[in-house]
């Protein structure tokens, strides 16, 4: 057990009274997620966690009926946990977060605007990247060029479902509608545009911009940029940003007494 391991186990099992701890550690020369209980050795914990631990947790969680789970969570993990607890997928009372401030390298790689969690337990907070250069570039393009760009990118999609499998807020797991032949009708790869449009729609009120989809894409499709563009739309139209534990998705509410002038709401 290294020093970080010692610090984390103390924090998780003594201070936070958790039953489990989810971290990343070095194992067989590789970086591995590790979900340990109190009496297990946490091993060589690594700081530069490349795993979206909320995703790792979400597969295990349904099989662990009781107990408090401490999770090393970056800013994006924290937002993901908010989204999941809000929707009743995770039980708020069973999750405790150990805040990890990402280093500059990680923040750069993720084009992260705000890598600082609400409470910093490990790491030194750094400044984020204010604007995603790719999003800026794409928004400046003509429709025609933008379509060309995305079509060329989506031609690399080989339907691995890595974007959903690794997504911390994609909680449909094995029931993803993208696997339905009725709605995404392509029988072979690459799937057509519908696949990506449908996913964009489904993620519009959930995505917390961790960028794991992009990192998991074998085709290097810049999915984070698309997520961010849709986000900007959500913000503009409904003033909604996912990851806030209190706000409800605008797609789930009525127009709520807003006076509906036909002209305004007809698109």
């Amino acid at each position: 057990m290294n020093d970080l391991g010692k610090k984390l186990t103390k924090m998780a099992f003594e201070d936070l009274k958790a039953d489990y701890l989810l971290v990343v550690r070095q194992e067989h020369g590789d970086l591995a997620p590790a979900f340990i209980s109190k009496d297990e050795d946490v091993g060589e914990v690594r700081f530069d966690a490349p795993y979206q631990l909320v995703t790792v947790l979400s597969r295990i969680y349904p099989h662990i009926p009781t107990g408090k789970i401490a999770i090393v969570s970056r800013k994006c993990d924290e937002l993901a946990i908010n989204e999941l607890t809000k929707r009743g997928i995770l039980d708020e009372k069973r999750i405790v977060k150990i805040g990890l401030a990402c280093d500059g390298h990680t923040a750069d790689k993720c084009r992260c605007p705000d890598p600082k969690p609400s409470k910093v337990d490990i790491g030194e907070p750094v400044k984020g990247i204010p604007e995603d250069p790719l999003v800026a570039k794409l928004m400046k393009m003509t429709l025609e060029d933008r379509l060309k760009y995305w079509v060329r990118q989506f031609k690399k999609c080989n339907k691995c479902f890595g974007c959903t499998a690794n997504c911390p807020v994609c909680f449909c797991e094995n029931q993803c509608v993208l696997g339905e032949r009725t709605l995404v009708s392509e029988k072979s790869i690459p799937p057509g545009l519908a696949f990506h449009l449908v996913r964009s729609f489904h993620m519009s009120d959930k995505c917390i911009e961790c960028g794991e989809c992009e990192r998991a894409c074998p085709g290097d499709i810049p999915l984070l940029a698309l997520r961010r563009m849709v986000h900007a739309d959500m913000k503009e139209m409904y003033k909604f940003v996912p990851g806030d534990p209190k706000t409800v998705s605008p797609l789930l509410t009525t127009l709520e007494g807003e006076v509906m002038e036909d002209e305004h709401n007809v698109c």
């Binding site: 339907k159 499998a165 032949r181």
Partner: protein, 681 residues
Amino acid sequence: MSTMSVRHVLTTCPFCGCGCNFYLQAVGNKLVGVVPDKSDVISQGRLCIKGYNAHAFVQHPDRLIHPLIKEGSGFRKATWDEALDRIVSEIKRISAKYGPDSIAVFSSAKCTNEENYLMQKIARAAVGTNNIDHCARLCHASTVAGLVYSFGSGAMTNSIPEFENANCLLVTGSNTLETHPLIGARMLRAIYGGAKAIVIDPRETALSRVAHMSLHQKPGTDIAWINGMARIIIEEKLYDKEFVETKTAFFDEFSKAVSEYTPEKVEEITGIPKDKIVEAARLYAKSDKAMIAYSMGVTQHSNGTEIVKALANLALLTGHIGKESTGVNPLRGQNNVQGACDAGALPNFYPGYQLVANAEVKSKFEKAWGKPLSDKVGLPMTVALQLAAEGKIKAIISFGENAMMSDADITHVQKGFERLEFFAAVDIFPTETTKFAHVILPAACYAEKDGTFTNTDRKVRRVRKAVDAPGEALPDWKIACELGKRFGAPGFDFKSPSEIMDELASVAPPYAGISFDRLENEILTWPCTAKDQTGAKILHVGGFKIGKGQFALSKHAPPAEETSEEYPLILSTGRNLFQYHTGTMTRRSPNLEREAPEPYVEINNEDARALGISEGDRVRVTTRRGSIAPVARVTDRILKGVLFIPFHYAEAAANMLTNPALDAAAKIPEYKVCAAKVEKA
């Protein structure tokens, strides 16, 4: 509160030859998911859909959980002792009656290196025959035969990550994005980074759609376009003169032999426009980092070995071999087909490609195994099955082979199984083949045992146990040990796969430097001949171990079966992305089955229109050997006159149709070409 045991077990994917590592997530004894390994050198934390679903079939209720013995028309539960004793006594009886060469053992490219090593050892040291083979026969046997001739070694000359840095990719007979997705991903990265890809395939594939050049040859005409390219390279003096002079043999003969393949003639034979051949030849020859990648579209022909050699000729001619991101790369299909060959599960090779026919080698192994061995080269699996139908092979022990799905002309294969006096099958699920067994043994699958797989770029990768095997199922290596002991052969009391690897390392030079201890923290690539080496990432650096690379005089020859008035279409078979081989595992994985749930035939839209067939119609596809009824997928992405059927589906098994004509050298069947007709069902 009692806590649950949650483990993330690093292991290797059981599907294709890419050999991606990932973590199996286990809670208690339940597998709950797959997490990609972010630091994996192959996958880089990415997987294909099969990888993400590699846990799904493991704990499927269909798993075989205890030994079974045939009784009447069904099976009854048996104890391990009874089942094992039955196998040994039957084999011994048949061996005594007809001789040991009346018995064949099939090992499996799905099993670990250690297990394959033991299976060939059972055949050779316990049963006393070299009749040991496995499904490499059906995929890259021609590669082994061809590349051993050309370069001295039948494996990928480069490593997977190198694809990414090539600036020319010549991909033929490989639907890489579907069959080797993570290799395909590297190719995509190269292409999107500016590399020029030439994809030559009768079908338009996901890769060909983003390639610089996408050419469609008539199936069975590969040697023509390859030789055509060679002719242009020679004629335009684009070949590497120095390399040819210093590192190769038979150039003059070769040069003369290809001279008849003029672009016009090539166009006539292959259907590829002549200017495209010229363009492709120039592109390949002029690129400094050019990689050839090929797969079953090349090997599964009755002249597959010749096609492989022809491709090797191109690399020899241009010196595109033995360098970073430059070489000839057969993409091997199964997760451990490389390893199964390495471990000696071949009728003509002992472990480490040491020739059975070599007396010196034989005596070395007799010494190592403490038993006299047969000096007779064994039978390839395809031949053994044909001989079974003739009554000359009397018994088969099969570890995981599903010949009733995977071998050509199933009807004939079935005759073989029906004539056998004894057939023992070891498998994880009941299959189309186990139906014919007299004894079925339940095996543990990859997630339930330790061992190693050697992937297509020759990396020896650990397989680790994540959960317990269901019921009484045992890992194949334990089954092999039990059988070996019961046959009374020495050297079968291994306590762990690690010990077996140590023995393999001691007899097979390419594995000499490999051990489980080292694999814990190191990436080892064969040939890894010493404990202080990590192996050769690139083969043939600086020259060929056999002295000189040999040009081969491959000649275009028509396929074994040509189209006729009655059977006017060419049928080709293969895989799709979502299913794997005979479907035993993937068809039990809901997310994979959902993607590709039913048997289909791809048919060109013009052919379909002429036949009155539309998308989704049930059709009948018939060849001289049989007939099946898949659903039509009408597409312009397949050449006119060509049909394609994936062979995953038992309900419309493509191999009812395929031609069992064998390649003369490699004995691989011609899965890629046979004459067929199609009509609305």
